[in-house]
Each structure stands twice: as structure tokens, then as C-alpha cells.
Point group: D2
């Protein structure tokens, strides 16, 4: 990933992912519906990826709970295929090609989820590997199993045929027109050689693809390796709509902020906004308050985390749409650098937290967060940010121009945030 | 330390400290000689503090090795005083007042070292505490002893009289005209209440003083407390002229860089340059190569570490003087922010390392480091720094203008560094 | 196992196990040959168990290296069966019944090895469980896999059908006439509920069977549970013919000695004596010296470890036969208690080590061990064993009567041992 | 301590110690009173040591709380002396000679407590060391301080003069007629070289003295060193009259039981029975129930722990006297070996616990303990103790003959114990 001309993630990817609303059970119809919505309402703001999450090869998947040992759709070369009952256009061995073409025709990009490894059913049936004389049994890392899903065995990268297997996967994904791959069961335990083997397969397939790894927490000690081999990496386990998880993200963001750079971004996970958990019925709706959602978007943008919407797009309400389509906020994601916390002050769990970032051509961003359960007046002395002189100050969520000078003062709601653009006078 | 008007360390302090060249044995004559040199040759570049390091109350101190349990000069109130045989102007109870006045008359500032706690000899003699009815025995933390020096017992901050004791110390230091206090045996184990008690005594004494704590490593978890209560804190144990220690500082600097801010700076320790270890004879000279010294200064400035010269100033050679008086390099220290590593790449121990920082009004700094034993060509794609557009590029150690554009390329010597100023075209 | 009338291991079991000489590949013919040898030459000295070790259901097993994911012989109820090509008498669904009958007819007892859990192939084929409406998939602990063998998934003891599955196994073993079961992949990580479920199945099957668990080290903290639920438990990982492993056993024996009691014994693993590793050709022979073998037998007997011969019996030489048929030594195993080390003295790795035990009706045993590489004179003051008075002293390996009195003195060979019987005069 | 002829602790020492009832403040008058009582009432049962515990050189000591940095009575050679106001017979430099003679005249033995190290006041005054040209400052381990008492610095055993200092101490103790030394601040952190230096001083002084070390827990890994260099070592921190501490002792006793041998015993600490804490007034009385005290004595005797009475002897009531003078129980202490737990069974914290030991000429001891809060019937199958045949059974606390045979059955009170003597029929 050293040649930036081909790096498909020079800024943090933005898109939609099916997990938060459909678990393992999303269908082609739903994907198309969300793609259409994105093309119409969100694309203009930079949203572009449509990602089909886990177990698209499992015909009977119902929701976020897996069917252990379920039979998966697989080709003769040990490669999982979309289940045709869920993705009808894949019938006849066409895989995700037709769905991908549909997404591309909308001016969007298409992504899929895969599990590290080779299907256990391939191993127990001992099926073939394309481009190799070895069979599935011979490349399986026989004792390497995912702790939460029964689909795969790991692949032992030292075995003959291992690279051929991964190459055969990504060649097919390239044929399908895949632009983004979220590789799961790999980031937290970080099998370095297997990660490099997958990266190698991506490079070899001839089509640029974002290489995303999951689930976190990815070890901080791997930061330099990540910045050479991976586009985005999860910094937590699955993130859901609970304040404790959002609050906890501040500390993780502090640890990772210096490692965000073009092509390589720490990933704070999907945004559980709007209608989520739709696989359990229509009642799912994010548990976050509006202020918490503003806090989340502000922090994700300051950190330059990729943004992946978790809710069913067609059910977004006005607030959520406004949250996701504020161009001034999204500009932080695309045009800032050197973000870092300035301080966390006050009682543990109730702090005021201040971050700053630098705009890539002129001026600065400052974000104020209030972790307390009550609103709080927060004042920042701009000189304390090592910024001399006087500044104009605009609050970006509201578009309000604040008094110019050397201070920023605001009443920040409970669990809420303010985001400012500063220009030097 | 919330009122910046009074914060005496809005930028990282710069000065000279007696430890590296004289250990525990510096004398008034030496201090005066160094102050004169600084006033004449270094002051114009921002150097201003003259700091007398450990055991100035020990009449028989000879070098870096302590005389265990030596009798110390002490007043009736359990307060250590300069040993008059070493600091003649202190005779008659004048303490450091006359020496401090001498330093101030040169337009410089005066600093001293103290050990946390109360002299063991005060405790065993049970002497008085000024401004309190309790005696030395009653405030001593009887089992709290420094692991490397026998002078003191800790003070138990919960005891009546503890604050009075520290107040009595700093009242005297204020009378003497002290501008800087390096408090030792306190940063690594971080006794929070005792640190706050010392800070309180400094604030109460009526004279601004830089509050420096030692030795490191200070725990990273204390970063937020440090940014509220301490001006500078050591991030390592004693730093000497060995490449391994210098190389190791890159990792520590990475951990601490986001916490440097006006008034509060991580301290990478004294600069062991020029003639050091003079207490063992005239043969002491830094073991660092010139390139390693350039690496050190560049890293310290990018990190915004305080700079304290460790060598005997009157013996500086031309190279060392040039090292310490490059205004473009020292400007990084005073006019940058948001410094952080961009990447470390290559085999462990031989990496190329790139840092960037932002100038506080316009443009950027980029530093290239070569940890390898051989010179290495290093190329940085400026776009990878999240900086769009084209830039003029000047190397600051040599003053060379490099080709403008989107790349920086240099052959960096073994263990050496390059420092660049970038202006957007 | 509270009713001793039914406990089949009131003294430590003694027998032969196929692992050390044949790995996974032993055949019926070999088993019969060894049983015949035992009946003729060893039975009179207390040897009685013939144990078929791992993977008797794997048709293609060749040696100590497993064939990953090999097809196993299995019945319709997910139960592994002997591979008929290796155990011809099992053909037609007879299992180990005929072989067991052959062993019983010789006056011996028959044992088998099993892996904890349910065959992976049963799970992926989703076969039936006898006596239950659930299927293999439903009881598999889907992420619980053995780290060194691919045959099984663990069974989740909380699932409906789990007890039924284990019951169905042991009912079949009871029909076959099995007297001893070595359950593998269970002792070191100690899944308590699964262990109790297996014990329950043994009790329910109506036939007394020794319940042996493997591999070690079994956690010492489980000692009390072991003394209620298990007959013998491995205290190390696999033990082979290397002095380091034998030396290391002294420390393990010290930790476990107080927990040996009727029905429940710490297991120091098989005795790798005589011709071992026969699956790789006829050249395998124990690497232990004769003195080391004497040390091993002496320590195993003092500890009251079960004794399982690892070598091919028909190839035993005169020395090995004498080692295994010394009635005075074997009597320690059956008629002593309260064994413990008295001291280890000298440089680490070269100590003299002294153990004592009490005979169950009269007198004592004392063992001297020399861990040094050179012979050493060792003298024990009997009074130091808390034994007053004077004693007759007989060395048991040689049958030599030593001088009576209050001391034992011997020149003990390098890595060798002496074992004494003491009678009070 | 290899020559048993001179080992003064071939069986576990029994005596009285002043700590539990008087803390640091015992006086000569009290010591004499207790010695007289012991000679009259307890000596016949084996009790013989009278031990003066901590700070006998502190003139102002009042109770269990120390006066930090108090002036201590000391001779010109840095050696602490009895405070004459508390020990009048020591006046005129006679030390403990007269008191020791008084105790000896009663047919008893005399012991003292010392802290490891050299008085801090000697170090700060830099006083002389007898038999050496070095002074106190030179042998002090300047950073080695006790965490709970301010009297001493450790001695650095590598320094010249260190052995001379310890020799000078024990020469004086030998002159005084000391028979037992409890060395404090040494067992838990186990400074091996300093322990050996003290042992060497004891051996060199020409008088047998029991070498006892404190406080625990002594590290189990030091067992072999202890059995060569120390007579008794504490296995816990201070033991007081709380059930939790008594219950906890079962686990410690299990760990240490195999290491009790003539001359070397694990020490479960003083027996807090009868009137304790007399330095706070006459109301102190053990918080243990009578059954708990029976449990304690039984466990201590089975373990062969030294027995040191903690209560004021002259205030013992009839029960406590009976507890301490049961010859059948005390015989376990002197005539058993190979004690060990047989099992702990039942819910954690409420177990029934069974121990066995072997009499040194004939028969066995069995102890039943009930950790539960309710009485419980406990039955032991004697065969489970590896003891074949039938036995007569006598309960030792009550002297009751129980039914002969192969079982022991008793209703054991809450927190109580039964102790049995078995003879084979």
C-alpha cells in the first residue's frame, strides 16, 4: 500500500453496513433499497460504500444469532458464495456481480464482509483449492477457530496453497466488482502473516479494494504495521448505542489519534443511528440521545475514523439525516490532521474533554465534549492550544458565529458536544 | 496553575543544570562562571535558567556518588541550607539570596534542586517546623525513603504541619529569589497528595516558580493531573550519552507528545553535551557523535521538551555552541504544536522515523531520523502528512533550500536527523 | 466414587499402554501379543491393564503424527468405533467386545483411550445421539477444540442431550467389557462440569471402570475435586525418556504427594522403558540409563503413581524385566502411605533428594536420589526423619542388608537411586 | 545447623511470648510473674520458653502502637539494651543477664525479640561497631527500612563489618544467657545473605539458641533453605483471634506440612488465648470460642508448629489451662511425623477437613475439623487413610474410647475439632 495512486482510502471511507440493522440476515432487496436511498440522499455528502456484512452464504440466517454449523453456499473451490435464496441475482454462479453492478450504476461502491480462513465444511469435505494441487484439509490451521462463529478454520499461511487460496478468493471478488472488504476474526489477535497474505491477495487481484479488519481492539503495538498494510482497523469490540461504550471511545481515540493518516485510519466502528436491529422487528431505534449522537459524530470526525451508518437508511428521520449531512462537520473528516485531545478535566466519568485538530490549508478545529449528566459551561483559552493571536470562531453543528478573540465559551449539553472552526484574524 | 498570567513556563524552559558535569559537588564559583557564560553567549538564543542540582547542603560532596548519611547544613526549622564552604555567599544565613541576585543581575533566572521530604537528620533530632507546633518527627512518612539517596524521609501530607513545612520551604526560596525548583524522588512513584501540597506551597509563596519533577518515568496515566499541577515532568530515568537511551526516547516521545501544552511539558532530561562528568576530571566529554546530538536536539524540540544543558558551559567547543544556538531549530520549541510521529519504518532498532509538527502561525515542521548504523536515503511524500498542495522546503540545521513540491528527500547520516520548515506555495 | 466397594483403583493401577511404542497406530494383533506377554510374565507381579491408546477409530493412522481431519469409523449414533482394518474382531459392529474378551480370558483387564467430546465429523454431518432427540450439532461446544488433535469438538455439558451422549458412550463401553478409560484433552484445562458428566456416565453404566484423565499438568487447585471424582490424573504433559523431564518430576511429586489415597492417585505418566517408538521402526529404545530407570520406578512407587509400561512388552530385555518385577519395590506402591520428600539439598539440578514413606502395617521406606552427574555418598540420619530408636535397613533393588542403627549411608550412582525398607528394632 | 547434638529445637519449642498481651510495653515485673506461673503450672507439660517481644529498649513504649523515632537505649557499640526503667535489673550495663538468670533458675529458658538491622539512631550518630574499625553508617543498608517500625536500617551483608556487628550482638546475647531469638522484619522478604549472616553469628556465639524468623508469610520456595538454616519460620502475618485467620491456616498448613522435621518447623504464630491485649486494659480476652481454640491447638499440633502462648498466664481460666495441658494432645507435637491433610470436602468455607499423622513408634493420629457454622457428623473410613485392618480409637480431648473397627464417626461442633489416637488391633 505504498503507492498512494492506488490507495482507495486516502480519506476515511464513508458508507452503510448491514450489521447493525440486519445481523447475519440481510437480503438483496434490502441492500438495493439502501443503495437507492444513499444515491439519492447521501451520496452528495460523500457517502459511497454499501457493505454486505457477515454470512451472506448462509441460506437460513435470521438475525444477529448464528446457526451453528449451518450449511453454507460454496463453490467447488472451497469459496463461499452468496445464498441464492437471499441474493437471487447471484443464481447461476454469478456471485455478487449483478448486485455490485447495480450499486456501481448508482455511482456508489460495493463492499462485502468475509471471515478469515477456509470454511470448515470445505475442510471436512476436503474440497479443492483453485490454482493449487493441495486441498482444503491441507491449508487449514486445524486448531484455529473463531470464538464466536463456526463457519471457518483459520488458514495456516506457512502451508503450500494458502496464498493460492486467498488469491482465488480475491480474484473472484475482483470479478464481482468488490471495492471494500471487511475481514473479520483477525484484528484483535492479529495473525501478522495471515494479514500480510490477505493484503498480498488484494494487491494481486488487480482491483483497488479497501482492506478493513475487525473486530477490535486491535493491539496498539501494531500501529506501524497497520500503517503499512491495512486501510482501517477496529479499535474496539462491537460498538453499540450505549453511553458507556461511547464514553470509553475517548480513551481509545486518545491512544490512536496520532496514527490516522491518508490511507490508514483507526476505525471506531459503525454508527448505530436511526432504525437498528430491524431483524428483530420494526421497534429497534438507537438508544443514543441526539446529543450523544452529536458527540459520536464529532469524535469520529476529529479522530478521522471511517463512518459507516448502521441504521436502515430508508427509515432515517429528519434529525438523523441532518446529523449525517452536515458538510462542515464532514469536512473535518476530509480536511484535518494532527488531531489530539487537549485535556480531560474533572471527575472521572464526568469530565469536560477538549480536542483540537488542524485544517489542512488554514485554521483549526476545536471540539468540546461534556461527559457529565448535566449541562456544563466550558471555556477554552485558545492560547492554551499553543495558538497565539486572535481568531474568528464558528460553531459547526449550529452554524453560529461566536465572539472572536482568544476564548471559546459554550454551555454544552449533558453527553453533548460542540465543534468549532477557527480562523486566525 | 490555571491562571496563565502567572505561569512561568508558557514555553519550554531552557537553561543549564549542574548535574551532568558536577554531580552533587558543584560550587558557587562554578555556578557564577556558567552564568556569566550563558549571559554572554547563550542568553540571546533564549537560554535563561541556571540550576543548582542535588545536595547543595552537603559540605563534603565530591562527585556523582553520595556520602550516605552525611551531615547536612540545616537551619533551626528543619530546612536545608547551602553549605557555606561550597557557597560562600550563603554564609550568615543568607542562603541562596546573593547567588540568585548575581544571576538575576545577568538577566537570567535561578533554579535549585530539592528532594521531596524532610531531612532524616531533622527527624532524628526532632527539630522544629516553622509556623507549626509540631516537630519533624510528627510529619515524617517514616517508612518512605528514597531508593538512592539517604538525605530525607518523605512527608506524610495527611499530618498536621506537613503543609506548613512545605510552605516554610518555599517562603524561604521566594525570599532567596528562586525561579525554578526541580523536585526529586517524586515523579516516578507519583505521590499525588504530596505533589499537590508542594504545588500549593509554590502558589502560596507569592513568587512564580517553575515546578519541575523528577526522576522519570512519570506514569503516563497521570497526564491529566500533570497538565493541571506540574510545569515539567521527566519521562525517563536519568538520561546519559548512550545511543540506546536516545533511541529509546523516540518511543517515550510518541507516548507523551500529545500532552505538551503551554505551561506543561514532558521533560526528556538534560542534554549531555560537551564537557560532562567534570567532577571526575577534565577528561569527561559527551559520548554522543555530532549526528546523535543533532538527533537529540531535533527530537527534544519537536517534542517541546525543556532544554537543560548538562555540560560545563565554559568548555563548549564550536560544534556544541552551534548546536545550541541555531535559532531556526529553537523556534520549533517555541512556535510549534500538535507534534507527533508520522511513522517508524523498518527493522526494529534501525528504523527511519518521521515526525511532523505545525507552526503556530503558518506552515509545518518535518523531521527525519535515521536509527540505522548506516546513512540512509529517506523520502517523505508530503501528501502522506495529510498536507495537500505544494510546499517550499528548507533544511534547518544547514539552512539549505530544497526543491519545492510534494516530496522531501534526504540522505540522513547514521543516527542522524534532518529538520525541515515547510511553507505552502 | 464414594462407595469404595466399587472403586476399581484402591491401589494404583498397573498395566501396559500402546502410546509410547505405537502412537496412534496400534493394531489388534499387537495388543493381543502384549496381553499374552503380560499374562505370562508380568501378571504375577500385579500388572493387569492392557490399554489401547488414541485414535483406534482412524483407519489410516501410521505413527505418533495425526492425519488431520481423517475420516473416522463411527456408528449411526455419533460414536467412534474401532477401525476394522486395524481391529478385525470389531467387524460387524462388535466394537472392542471380542478383544476385551480375549484380554479377560487371560485374567487381565482391558482399557481404552477416548478424547473428550463428540467427533467433528458427526457435528458437520449432524448425526443422531442415542437416547435423545437432539443431534450432534446441538451438543457440540462449537469453539472448544483440542489444540493438538482434530477429531473432536467439546461437548457443552449444559446442553440437552449432552449427558445422554456420554451415557450412550459408556453403555457401549460397558457392553464391550471395558475396565479402564483414559479420557484425553481434559485434565490440564479441567472443564469441571464435563468431567462430572463423564464420571456420572461411568457410574450409570453399571460396570466399574477406572477413570483416568489426561494430559497434565492437572491444576493443583483441583486436588479436592479430583479426590472425589477421578481415579488418576496426569501431573505433567507427556513424559518421555529425557533426564530433564525425570528430574522435573521430583518437584511435581512434592506438590502432589499428600493427595495420593485409595481410589485416587496422581499419575506421573507412562514408563518409557525398553523398546519404544516402534511405529518408526525397530530402533526405538529408551534413552534412559539403567540408573535413571531405577530412579523413575523408585519415585513413581514412593509417590504411588499408577504404573503403565510404555515399551513393547515382547521386546523387553532382562534388565527391564527385572526393573518391572521387583516385588519389594512394587510393594511400596501397594502398601505405603504418607510419602513425602524429606529434603533436597545441594546445587540446583544436582541435589541429593531424600523421600520417606510409611508402610501400612510396620516400618518405613526411605529413598535416596542423586540428581548429580557423578556418584555421591549420601547419608541420612534416621532421627531427622522424626524416627526415634534403631532400625534394620534393607536396600530393596539389591536385596542387601545394611548395618542396623540410626543412619543410612550409600554411594548413589549418577542419576540413580536407592530404596530402603526400615524395621524398628 | 547440621549437627543435631547442638540443635536446640529437635521438637517444636513451647513457651510464652509477651506480644499478644503487652505489645511493645512488657516490663520485667510482668515477665517474672509469667515465668513463675509457667514454672509452677505449665513446665511439667513441656512449656519452657519465656520470650520478651519487640522494643524492650524503648523507654516510653505503651502498647501495640509504636512511638516513631523514639530514642532507644543503646550501648557505645550500636547495640540496643533493655530500657532500665522497664527492666530495672538491666541497670548498669547488665542487659538481660539478671532476668535470664531468674528464668533459668526456674528451670525455664529465656528468649528475646530483635529487629533485623542496626538502629537508625546509631547510623545517624555514626557510632562504633565492636570488633571492627567501620562505623554504623558504613554497614547500614541505607534504603532498607522496615515498613511498620522505625527503629532500624537493614544491614548490608556485603559490607565489611556487617558480620562483626551481628557477631557482637549474639556474643552479648550469649553472655546474657539468651536461649531463643525471634528475628523480625526478615521472613517474608527473605534476605538470604542476611539470614545466613545471623545464623553464622548464632553458631559462632557458642551458646545454642533457637533461631526463629518473622513475620510471615515466609515464601514456600525457601523451604529447603529454611530446613538448613532456620529453626522456625512464620507461615502467616500476625495471627489474631479471628476465625477467618484460623480457617485460612488450614491452607497454609497444607502447603507447609511436609517440611516440618526435627530442628525445623513451620510456625503458625502465637496462640491468642485467655487474657490478651492487656496493654489496653483488663478487658482483653480472646475472641475465639472454646471450640475454635480446640481447633487451633489440634491443627498446630498436627502441623508440629511451635506453640507460644499469647495470653497473660496469671489470668488463665480453667478452660484455657485445660486446653494447654492436655498431655495426649501435646504428645502429637512431640511424637508424630508425616502429618498431612487427607481431604477437605464440602462448600468452600464450610468444609469438613480431615488430617492424619503417624505416631513415631506405633499407631496414628486422625483429626476431624468442622469449618461449618453448624455442628456436623463426620465419618472417616480408615481404609481411605491407606490403613488396612481394624483399630482401637480414642478421642484425645475428651479421653473417650470409641468403637473399634474401620470407621471413625463423630458429631463435631461448629468450628470445632476432634483428635483421635488409633492403635491397630
Amino acid at each position: 500500500m505504498t503507492d498512494n495512486q492506488k490507495n482507495p482510502a486516502m480519506t476515511p471511507p464513508m458508507g452503510w453496513n448491514s450489521w447493525d440493522c440486519y445481523g447475519a440476515s440481510v437480503t438483496e432487496e434490502i441492500v438495493r433499497k439502501n443503495a437507492l436511498y444513499m444515491a439519492e440522499h447521501l451520496k452528495a455528502f460523500g457517502w459511497e460504500y454499501i457493505v454486505v456484512d457477515i454470512q451472506w452464504s448462509e441460506p437460513t440466517a435470521e438475525n444477529h444469532t448464528y446457526h451453528n454449523f449451518a450449511e453454507l453456499e460454496m463453490d467447488a473451490y472451497s469459496r463461499l458464495q452468496p445464498a441464492p435464496n437471499r441474493f437471487p441475482s447471484s443464481a447461476g454462479g454469478k456471485g455478487f456481480g449483478p448486485l455490485s453492478a447495480f450499486v456501481h450504476d448508482l455511482g456508489l461502491k460495493f463492499g462485502i464482509h468475509i471471515m478469515r480462513g477456509i470454511p470448515r465444511q470445505a475442510v471436512h469435505r476436503n474440497t479443492a483449492i483453485l490454482g493449487s494441487t493441495v486441498t482444503a484439509r491441507q491449508i487449514a490451521a486445524q486448531h484455529s477457530v473463531c470464538p464466536w462463529n463456526t463457519d471457518m478454520y483459520g488458514v495456516d499461511p506457512a502451508r503450500e496453497g494458502a496464498q493460492a487460496y486467498y488469491n482465488s478468493l480475491f480474484e473472484q471478488y475482483a470479478e464481482w466488482g468488490v471495492d471494500f472488504v471487511k475481514v473479520d476474526d483477525i484484528a484483535n489477535h492479529y495473525p501478522t502473516a495471515e494479514i500480510e497474505q490477505i493484503e498480498q491477495a488484494i494487491r494481486a487481484c488487480g482491483r483497488p479494494m479497501v482492506f478493513s479488519i475487525s473486530p477490535g481492539p486491535t493491539p496498539l503495538q501494531k500501529a506501524e504495521h497497520l500503517k503499512q498494510h491495512v486501510n482501517m482497523w477496529r479499535i474496539t469490540d462491537d460498538f453499540w448505542d450505549h453511553w458507556e461504550q461511547l464514553y470509553d471511545m475517548f480513551e481509545r481515540a486518545e491512544s490512536w489519534c496520532i496514527h490516522a493518516c491518508p490511507g490508514h485510519f483507526p476505525d471506531a466502528d459503525m454508527l448505530p443511528v436511526g432504525p437498528i436491529l430491524q431483524d428483530y422487528g420494526p421497534d429497534g431505534w438507537t438508544g443514543f440521545t441526539q446529543d450523544e449522537q452529536i458527540t459520536m459524530l464529532t469524535l469520529w470526525c476529529m479522530l478521522r475514523s471511517p463512518l459507516m451508518i448502521g441504521g436502515e437508511l430508508t427509515g432515517l428521520d429528519a434529525f438523523t439525516r441532518s446529523l449525517l449531512t452536515n458538510p462542515d462537520i464532514l469536512e473535518i473528516l476530509k480536511h484535518s490532521h494532527s488531531a489530539h485531545p487537549v485535556y480531560r478535566r474533572g471527575e472521572k466519568g464526568r469530565e469536560e474533554i477538549v480536542w483540537m485538530a488542524t485544517h489542512d490549508t488554514e485554521g483549526y478545529y476545536v471540539a468540546l465534549f461534556n461527559a457529565d449528566l448535566q449541562e456544563k459551561e466550558i471555556t477554552v483559552d485558545i492560547q492554551q492550544l499553543s495558538l497565539p493571536g486572535e481568531y474568528t470562531v464558528t460553531e459547526l453543528w449550529t452554524g453560529t458565529d461566536c465572539p472572536s478573540g482568544t476564548r471559546i465559551t459554550a454551555v454544552v449539553p449533558a453527553h453533548g458536544a460542540k465543534a468549532y472552526r477557527l480562523h486566525r484574524i
